[in-house]
Amino acid sequence: MGGENLISSDIIRGYTDTMILFTVLDGDSYGYEMSKRIKEITGGSYVMKETTLYSALTRLEKNGSITSYSGMHDGRKRTYYSITEAGRACYAAKCGEWELTKKVIDSFIK
């Protein structure tokens, strides 16, 4: 429900997990780094709320798509997340789903 976001929150809600999985595809990461990357990748068009991020992380960990461990960064204790095989499969499935959705909706966009 961000004031500045012009993207429909209904649509985004379905892909927050996908965005987060993307950030750990190539390597482990932690909370702030992930939300920062998401903002950068979208060129500032989408800023994920802290709580949205953390809800998604909890959800993804619960369904086995990611695992977490404690690490140190800049002298601070942080929780790092890494993607699992199941997570990669989920991600791939979501990508396929989006391609299909995009194709369907594109047929109606002038």
């Binding site: 429900m1 004031g3 932690y30 909370g31 702030y32 939300s35 920062k36 800023v47 709320k49 802290e50 709580t51 949205t52 953390y54 809800s55 909890t58 959800r59 601070r76 204790k77 942080r78 929780t79």
Partner: protein, 308 residues
């Protein structure tokens, strides 16, 4: 930073302590600290950084329900990080009303001259007063932009969103009012200084004068409304009412009118100006003011502003 810590404290009040919630809290604290530090090193003021971090926080209950945790019933009633965002100081108290006051002086003098002299222009003293007021306000606005106001406490998420929406919306109105006011002021000064007079007496141009004055009156009221909104939104969002705004406006207006007319007390009875003042201008002004206050009081029952 303390503000952020307080915010997190209140967010987590009433939440049972276990490994999961402790970890969540540590992570969130680390995140917000990182974000805050990065914003500050990017050049944002403490205020802006705190505001950004908090407004981008979201709703903690979303995470809790995902984790299957609920707050204790007791905490639900007491947890409320609601309060002031900006501390008022003596400078802002004086400088802040300066802009609407300046506009009101201008408006008053226009009405006065129209009433007595049928002339569109104002005296040099008033021009000086108006310029001083605008200067005071501009300095205040500049200081404010530079972040000299201290952030004391926090708004809730919804309040923060509302404040931002309000500021965005009012930016356009205040810019419009500011520009229009500047134009009217400039024209008035030029006319007064060059001695060019626009006389209303020919019936047609009187209408023109009335339109200008009504427009000015509207602009002045809007400026005052915007100002009041700003103050209350920054302080206690639930406390703003149109009634309070109108009362504030009336106090300024009557004070200005009163001060300008102090000399009227010395006028002789029988002087037609005195008669006009006592039996027309004064009662009409008081009547209109009372009517406006009454209308705003009634209007408030229809406008639920910021009420929770």
């Amino acid at each position: 930073m303390d503000t952020i810590m307080n915010y997190i404290d209140s967010m987590f009040s009433g939440i049972p302590e276990n490994d999961a919630t402790r970890r969540l809290r540590d992570d969130i604290t680390a995140n917000m600290t990182d974000k805050y530090e990065e914003l500050v090193s990017d050049g944002k003021s403490e205020n802006e950084a705190v505001g950004t971090v908090i407004s981008e926080f979201g709703n903690i209950d979303e995470v809790l329900s995902e984790m299957g945790i609920s707050r204790t019933a007791k905490a639900k009633k007491t947890a409320s990080p609601v309060r002031v965002f900006v501390k008022r100081n003596i400078v802002s108290l004086i400088a802040r009303p300066a802009a609407p006051v300046a506009l009101m002086i201008l408006l008053y003098r226009l009405i006065d001259d129209w009433y007595w002299e049928f002339r569109f222009g104002i005296d040099k003293t008033s021009i000086a007063l108006i310029i001083i007021c605008f200067a005071a306000y501009s300095i205040y606005a500049l200081l404010r932009k530079a972040g000299k106001e201290k952030a004391s406490v926090l708004l809730t998420d919804e309040d923060m969103e509302r404040l931002k929406a309000h500021q965005a919306k009012n930016k356009k109105i205040s810019e419009l009012v500011g520009t229009a006011g500047a134009i009217v002021l400039a024209v008035t000064i030029v006319l007064s200084v060059t001695g060019v007079q626009i006389i209303w007496y020919p019936a047609g141009s009187r209408l023109f004068a009335r339109i200008i004055i009504l427009f000015m009156g509207f602009m002045v009221f809007m400026r005052n409304y915007h100002d009041c909104l700003d103050i209350y939104m920054g302080r206690e969002p639930g406390q703003f009412t149109v009634f309070k705004c109108t009362v504030r406006f009336s106090i300024y207006w009557l004070t200005i009118a009163g001060l300008y007319n102090i000399r009227a007390i010395n006028m002789l009875d029988g002087d037609p100006r005195f008669e006009l003042f006592m039996y027309q201008f004064l009662p009409v002004t008081l009547l209109i003011t009372l009517a406006a206050v009454f209308v705003s009081y009634v209007a408030d029952s229809f406008i639920k502003f910021g009420k929770r």
